[in-house]
Amino acid sequence: MLALILPALVILVAFQIVPILIGANASFRSWSLFNPQKTFVGLANYRRILADPLFYGTVLPNTFLFMLASVSGGLLAGLGLATLINRRFRGQRLVRTAILLPLMVPPVVAAIMITWMFNDQFGIANVILEALGLEPVAWLVSRWTSLAIVIGTDIWLWTPWFTLLILAALQTLPVEPHEAARMDGAGPWQVFRNITLPLLRPVLMVCITIRTIDAFRVFDIVWTITKGGPARSTEVFSIYAYKQAFVYLNFDLGAAASMIGAGIIMVVGGVLYKVLSYVVEVSR
């Protein structure tokens, strides 16, 4: 029995658990990449991170905003799309191809495509705005438009994932409650609201849990579109920790920041896991 998990366990220990321990150790020390001393400094690094106005004033709000907006946006779009295409119609294969595509595109490439479309001089977004007689917008120069673009890109990337999972769940739902409700004179919206949605609750909760954990650690699209700019105003947690370690070469501060982030997502993940188990239990 142990033999079955041994190879996986060895790699997990060597390349995930050991690094995390090294990181935890580094976060309690004065450990810059070129400092051989590595003196123990207790919680000093944590204090410095938590007292950094950029961290609590910009990075954490950005991270949570991104998490909430991108998960709820993807969920709503996926739910809508899945409900719409959950029947036979012409061009079904074509629609499914279109839905699957963003799921497989490298996030970095998606980010590059979006950067090009929102280029302030030549991007198609501004061409359209001008054609409509509106002022062109310098999209990536202000914090809020940049964040909106990043969030939009993430929703674009993940809507297919929500759609596929919800669609699969829709197809396994029992038909009887729906028919009964319709016979009793319920409209389509009422059926959706009172029958479909409660039945979908477990799968929606699974989607929310997985995506929330992943959205918290977003790195690639933010890095490619804004690099955390303008003026570090769109940094999220992973970018902040990366910059501390590899741009400013404060390895200890980067480790401490990443530990704080890990702590936060553990709490969030724990709560979500509890909610998930509860929802699954109740709907049984």
Binding site: M1, A3, L4, I5, A8, I11, L12, F15, Q16, V18, P19, I20, I22, G23, A26, G80, L81, L84, V95, T97, A98, L100, L101, M104, V105, P106, P107, V109, I112, M113, I114, W116, M117, F122, I124, V127, W156, T159, A168, R217, F219, D220, W223, T224, K227, F237, S238, A241, Y242, A245, F246, F251, G254, A255, S258, G261, A262, I265, M266, G269
Partner: protein
Amino acid sequence: MTLLLVLPVAWMVLTAIRPASGVFYVHRGTEFTLGNFAEALAKPEMKEAFVNSALIATLATVFSLAVTITSGYMLSRFSGAASNLWFGLIYLFRCIPYISWVIPLYLLTQWMGILDTYLGLLLPHIAIHICFFSWIMKGFFDGIEPEAEYAAYIDGCSRWGAFIRIALPMATPGIVALFILSWLYTWNEFLFALILTGSRTTMLTVRMAQFVHETGIEWHLMSATAVMAIGPALIVTLFAQEYVVKGLKI
């Protein structure tokens, strides 16, 4: 709405086939060219990046599937403390943000002397998949009734024999689907590739992200490279989608 999903890709493809002079007014003009692809590929660092990405994606997929098939089988067929503990570990470590282990991973691979080598990229990329794939594999084996394996025991088959001859073939459609997705995942991966590669083993995504910031004006070449980078994704969505959707039961 479906159109909205295709638009960014379509726009990129359109940009990729416009000549350099036509790029800034992609929506006008009618000259098209395929020269951008040749020009983008002519850069040796790009060719190298394509090779590196394909190599790491293939190796990481093969090895991570090999180790998680048995791990998922264990989670599905055995109950008890060891199984619960292993599942708990997997959920826990799936939650930890990548950045929390990739920063020290840089130090670890440096210390082991495998930073910026294929091995130094490959092992972490296998590690990324362990938690999630074990979880999914458990799902595959949960969907297979164990009765056939019990019958095999009675006929004198060993546990390993039953696993290899009975359970494994039945899980194959799922495993193939996971192979495709895993390959694409590593091909698409960015953070680990960024931190664990220097100049010798640069992966495609990293090279492209550098490209945007260094030569952000050559949009026709950028787009041509991007179109080639989504090539595998396009091939899968066009030709293997039935297989992926069915295999993952989604």
